[in-house]
Amino acid sequence: MSVSTFGNGNSRSLDRLLPLVLLPVAVMALGPVVRLLLEGIGFGEGFTTDHLRTVLGRDSTRTALIHSLLTAGGGTVLSVLIGASFAFLVALTDIRAKGALVFCLMVPMMIPPQITALAWMQMTGPSSVLLKLLGLAPPLGSPQPLHSAGGIVLLLGIQHAALVFLTLRAGLRMIPADLVEAARMSGAGAVRVWAQIVLPLSMPALIAGGAMAFVTALGNFGIPAMLGIPAGYSTLPTLIYQRLVGMGPAVLPEVAVLALLIGAVAIAGVLLGRVMLSRQGFGLVGLSGTPLTLSLGRARLPVEIALWAFIFAILALPLIALLATSLIPAYGVALSFDTATLKAWAEVLFVQPVTRRAYGNSLMLAVLAAAILMAVSLPLAWLMERRPSRLSRALDALIDLPYALPGVVLSIACILTFLKLPFTDLTLYGTIWIILMAYLARFFVVMLRPIQASLAQLDPAMEEAAASVGARLGRRLRTIVLPLAAPSAAAGAILVFLTAVNELTVSALLWSSGTETLGVVIYNLEDSGETVMASALAMSIVLLIVALMALVQISAKHFPKGVIPWQS
């Protein structure tokens, strides 16, 4: 029998070593954000507010800020309208095929924003292949209607509607069914019940979802970059991008201030949501979980048709337009049975070195990020769940930050941190590793939360039983905890993979020749007029993403509740 004393343990050495995971994780995830904060107050050259004043005083900054607020605000309103309509109808009424409807509403959220923008641009404007095919194209020379603030608002609204939908649906599920039944017993009809009972009770969830949509829209780079830059309409993320691409690392202190500004606006948005929430809080008492099913009666079929028509318009039509563009031999040629060709597909997938390299880079980054995060998150989640300490609780609270903050903020933070590695002359800037570091920090929480959820549901007795029959910590983690948390870890890994493959905002600022990611290449191809190839590449990515989502969906029953974001 081996014995340990409190002074010098040997048999429980792993128990002692494991908490050491916390520190590098905290540095990796939060270090860049801290570094950015320091930059804002003149870190390295002594405390100064000069940068702050010069940058904030510029007209370009003010214009970009106003544009950001306008587009993000407008996009949020649209997201709330779409997301809330779907959430109320799906969660409260007896419409059919809810699963398929929800899945289709989720796809726009999972598709990279620059692909959304590209697809929509193929659906409107004078050179739309689809419109030409149908003979509906506006005359040549007329402007692309989406190259405007309105276009940005429309696409931001559609892209983030799913966030509002998910939050609100989760909130609606918390409303005890008996509250609604009580109202109906009092003589209220379906509409009155919705307006006077359900709507007030679901306000907190609606506000939370709206705040999330706002912050996400604020940080969106792909849509304003594709639609705004051609129109000379800049938002904060695109301003940062244009400055940094145009002037190089010399303008870092300046863009750091812009990054802090957008970060501050994002945090203000979150806080405002919190304040409104605290005023709206209700204590809900009663049994929840019984789904409310208000019967739509004869209106059911028309409602279903309307919902599916909407899905068709925001999802299928743009993708069909994208597909149509990807099948023509050259931009400007009309699509017909004679002209249709897979040349662009072959070109991007097999011939062009840039696109092949981008596929390689993106897949490698996504796989590496998923694998590293899975390896770190398992012991970390176990520590947080079973051996909570002050440090682990603080990390738990702050780990959301790199994901919640707009991507440009994290990118600038990473450039600042890794431009010159501490204590060395080495730099990660310009290598693929800086993108990997940024991905690790940003997607940590995407991986950690599902694993935390599954460990929280794991009976501690499972591990105690293993301990009592003689298994040490390492063996318990390997043979008991790992297999039981594996499905959630797999789901988390797929989510990280999906999000990383989609990613443009972070890599747009961190890429250099040779380290392009898919998001960057689509943007560059479109930017240099190679719309057909951009469309083919975009379409191939959409297929990959939908296939991965379907894979997760099919294996849904193996995951604990709350692991898959589009299910609950």
Partner: protein
């Protein structure tokens, strides 16, 4: 098989004592039940023994080895103590055979020996035909047997059972009790069994430790607990019957005192010459038409074969068994024979407090 000894064992949760200076010794091969209401500390004592909790003070010995003391703590994996959880804690990703074989894999037992011992353990618990099943495909009773087999396969020095029958239905409980008795007889293991169900404790255990508020109130054989409870809590918690204050008459003999209960004088068995209360079991009450005490029937429940009567006498409620049904409000004659008189420690402090105030 080894003896378990607790010495001055104390455990506090957020400052509130869950175990308060427990000292007790459980002999090698003994089957001991920890009985008490929820929150009495019985599960805490079990988890301290297993090594899942650190004591705040005191010593735990297993077979003479100190496993927990100030500055010394043997982790659960090194204690060689088996535990059967209330939730069974079967690993859902392993088959029955894999669950049972795990403790031997941990001990690097060679494959051939391992398979033989797993087969033996499965045979003993009647699970031979279920070796390939997953835990999710088993019934509650079968899961319980797997947990037991997993525990017995590595021949632990002691076996702890945490409310193992709480999740089973009544019919299964009886048959599982037989399994535990058989298991104990076959293995001769030291067993510590936590339960809040007195019938389980009295039926299974060699000795029962009745716990309340972090302390052991009495630690004795089941029949002793029933016939000779040490205090009001044990008398009320274990077995049926009434606990009534007693007044001394001054007459006492070896093992007997004459006391005044409910206005009549009765000879009672007692270990003290100065008892404060008397425990009157239903068997100690004889019903007759001409009994000295007049009792009014306030409750009548059929138990199968006999009736349980609640009788009101001089403001106290007695419990008696009767062969015939009694009408509510009916008056019966009662004779008390051979009750047990004891001195409740609380009564002492009560008296002391009253005296202090006077």
């Amino acid at each position: 098989m080894a003896e378990l000894t607790f010495d001055n064992l104390t455990k506090r949760f957020d400052g509130a004592p869950a175990l308060d200076r427990i000292s007790a010794s459980i002999g090698a091969g003994e089957f001991v039940a920890l009985l008490g209401p929820s929150g009495c500390g019985k599960t805490t004592l079990l988890r301290l023994t297993a090594g899942f909790e650190h004591p705040d003070a005191g010593t735990i010995r297993v077979g003479g080895d100190i496993v927990a003391r100030e500055g010394r703590f043997v982790p659960p994996e090194d204690r060689e103590i088996g535990i059967v959880f209330q939730s069974y804690a079967l690993w859902p990703h392993k088959t029955v055979a894999q669950n049972v074989s795990y403790p031997l894999e941990v001990r690097r037992v060679p494959r051939a020996a391992r398979e033989a011992r797993v087969a033996e353990a499965l045979d003993l618990t009647g699970l031979r035909d279920f070796a390939g099943r997953m835990p999710a495909q088993l019934s509650g009773g079968q899961r319980q047997r797997v947990a037991l087999a997993r525990c017995l396969v590595f021949e632990p020095r002691a076996v702890l059972l945490d409310e193992p029958l709480a999740n089973l239905d009544l019919a299964l409980r009886a048959s599982m009790q037989e399994v535990f008795t058989m298991f104990h007889r076959r293995t001769g293991a030291t067993m510590l069994y936590v339960t809040h169900d007195q019938s389980e404790a009295l039926a299974l255990a060699d000795r029962v430790a009745v716990m309340q508020a972090g302390q052991i109130r009495q630690f004795a054989a089941p029949e002793v607990l029933y016939r000779e409870p040490a205090d009001c809590f044990v008398a009320g918690f274990v077995g049926d019957g009434a606990v009534v204050p007693a007044r001394l008459t001054g007459r006492a003999e070896a093992g007997r005192v004459l006391i005044s209960v409910l206005g009549v004088e009765v000879w009672a068995r007692s270990a003290t010459a100065t008892p404060s209360h008397v425990s009157i079991r239903p068997e100690a009450i004889a019903l007759s038409d001409d009994g000295a005490l007049r009792a009014r029937v306030i409750g009548c429940t059929y138990l199968g074969g006999r009736f349980r009567l609640e009788l009101e006498v001089a403001g106290e409620t007695l419990v008696a068994f009767s062969a015939r049904r009694a009408a509510l409000g009916e008056t019966l004659g009662v004779t008390i024979t051979d009750p047990w008189a004891f001195r409740d420690p609380e009564a002492e402090t009560l008296i002391a407090r009253v005296l202090n105030h006077a």
